[in-house]
């Protein structure tokens, strides 16, 4: 194709998105669209998969059967979300193995929040309430994104995610209403997860390199700073309601803006964690790569069995 033809196709392509038409896997798309989507969608899938690790840590020590079944179901959902997203990404022409390879070698990123440790049971509450809360804010607009398979996966993810946040909030609420020791646990978890949750919504707008193009493709509908403000505004009253204190001395309602003002975020910490120097980066990758390697003989055995059965059936037919 000549450069001119490609340009024409691109103009038509952008017009389709402008008209809110969806792009489907076999449609023509600019190479950059494909690459950007592979990057964002696979990162999203990796985050779901790695995101199971901090919570998996507490399944066997959940304080009651009720909490245990809920946490198990939540972690299973995350596996499911990872799988929806991996298969949606595969429609763009990248294989599952390539994506795993990118995750395991550190070439692909996942959400930096999962590199923080889960030290107490209250962290299960804080993660559900704050981390899933921030994730929902990020994900709801994606249900309308331009790439069909991504939008469909996100609709399914969002339907399931609100249970995650509620189960987390309930844990926090119960602890906050409990003994002073339990309340301290809840407050401590909030103190540790608050700032990383704000960072999770991405770098400041002026440092976010992909925002403008992503907005055009509806891969992003609101800027990071807008999403962050929305998260703060909706979360602060929830903390008030259960008597916990947001660990930000500069947090203050701004009547004119109709929003909360908040203190500075430690972006150095964010970039350190993104670059691999967070408290648990190594541990997470070790667990993930270990699980993949140790599962290899199982995957091979299943394939060998399937092939043997297929030959048997074929022989029977003859």
């Amino acid at each position: 194709m000549s450069e001119e033809q490609i340009k024409n196709l691109e103009v038509q392509f952008n017009a389709r998105i402008e008209r809110d038409e969806k792009i489907e896997p076999k449609d023509w798309m600019p190479e950059k669209y494909r690459k950007t989507h592979i990057r964002q969608m696979s990162q999203h899938a990796h985050s779901e998969i790695v995101g199971m690790l901090p919570e998996g840590n507490w399944i066997s020590r959940a304080p009651s059967l009720r909490r245990k079944v809920a946490l198990l179901a939540k972690v299973q959902d995350e596996a499911g979300h990872g799988l929806y997203l991996y298969s949606a990404t595969e429609t763009l022409g990248i294989s599952r193995e390539e994506m795993y390879e990118q995750l395991h070698t550190g070439k692909a990123k996942y959400s930096s929040i999962f590199n923080y440790p889960t030290l107490t049971w209250a962290d299960m509450g804080a993660i559900g309430w704050l981390v899933d809360g921030a994730a929902i804010i990020n994900q709801v607009p994606l249900c309308n994104t331009s790439y069909g398979p991504y939008a469909r996966a996100m609709i399914r993810v969002c339907k399931e995610e609100s249970f995650h946040q509620r189960q987390g909030f309930e844990i926090m609420m119960k602890l906050a209403k409990g003994t002073s020791e339990q309340k301290d646990l809840a407050q401590d978890a909030l103190n540790r997860w608050w700032w990383p949750s704000l960072m999770m919504l991405g770098p400041k707008d002026e440092e976010s390199v992909h925002t403008e193009q992503s907005m055009k493709w509806k891969l992003k509908r609101k800027s990071n700073d807008d999403l962050r403000q929305q998260f703060i505004d909706q979360t602060v009253p929830q903390a008030d309601l259960i008597g916990l204190t947001i660990p930000d001395p500069e947090l203050k309602w701004n009547k004119e803006r109709g929003s909360y003002d908040f203190g500075p975020i430690n972006w150095d910490e964010f970039w350190q964690v993104v670059k691999g120097h967070g408290p648990c980066n190594k541990e997470r990758m070790k667990a993930r790569v270990g699980a993949w390697k140790e599962g290899e003989w199982v995957r091979d055995a299943a394939m060998a069995y399937a092939e043997k059965q297929a030959t048997k059936n074929l022989n029977k037919a003859v």
């Binding site: 489907e24 076999k26 449609d27 023509w28 179901a73 299973q76 959902d77 499911g80 799988l83 929806y84 298969s87 949606a88 595969e90 294989s95 599952r96 193995e97 469909r152 996966a153 399931e160 290899e296 995957r299 091979d300 299943a302 394939m303 060998a304 069995y305 399937a306 059965q309 297929a310």
Partner: protein, 94 residues
């Protein structure tokens, strides 16, 4: 790893009376495993009463580049729609 598990497309009937609809895809060694995985991945909350799986390589698909000759001719065949036909105003039940 000797050989990767193939890709399967998953179709789910959400309740009797409705058709099977494409839900997504997954990897599995064989059809039985694909059905079991589909149950866990796509129907954790009563989303279905029946599942079909088919290996993705067995699906033939039309190419969007041919959409013009495939689908556009239908647009000028207005006589296929009831509104094309003139009827007197006082005719009933037609």
């Amino acid at each position: 790893m000797k050989k990767n598990w193939p890709l399967w497309e998953v179709f789910v009937r959400s309740k009797n009376g409705l058709e099977h609809r494409h839900f997504g895809s997954l990897h599995a060694a064989d059809a039985e495993m694909a059905l079991e995985n589909a149950r866990d991945v796509y129907t954790r909350r009563n989303e279905g009463v029946s599942i079909w799986v088919v290996e993705s390589k067995n699906i033939a698909a039309s190419n969007p580049l041919n959409n013009g000759e495939l689908f556009e001719p239908a647009q000028d065949k207005v006589y296929r729609h009831p509104t094309f036909y003139d009827l007197p105003d006082d005719i009933k039940h037609m």
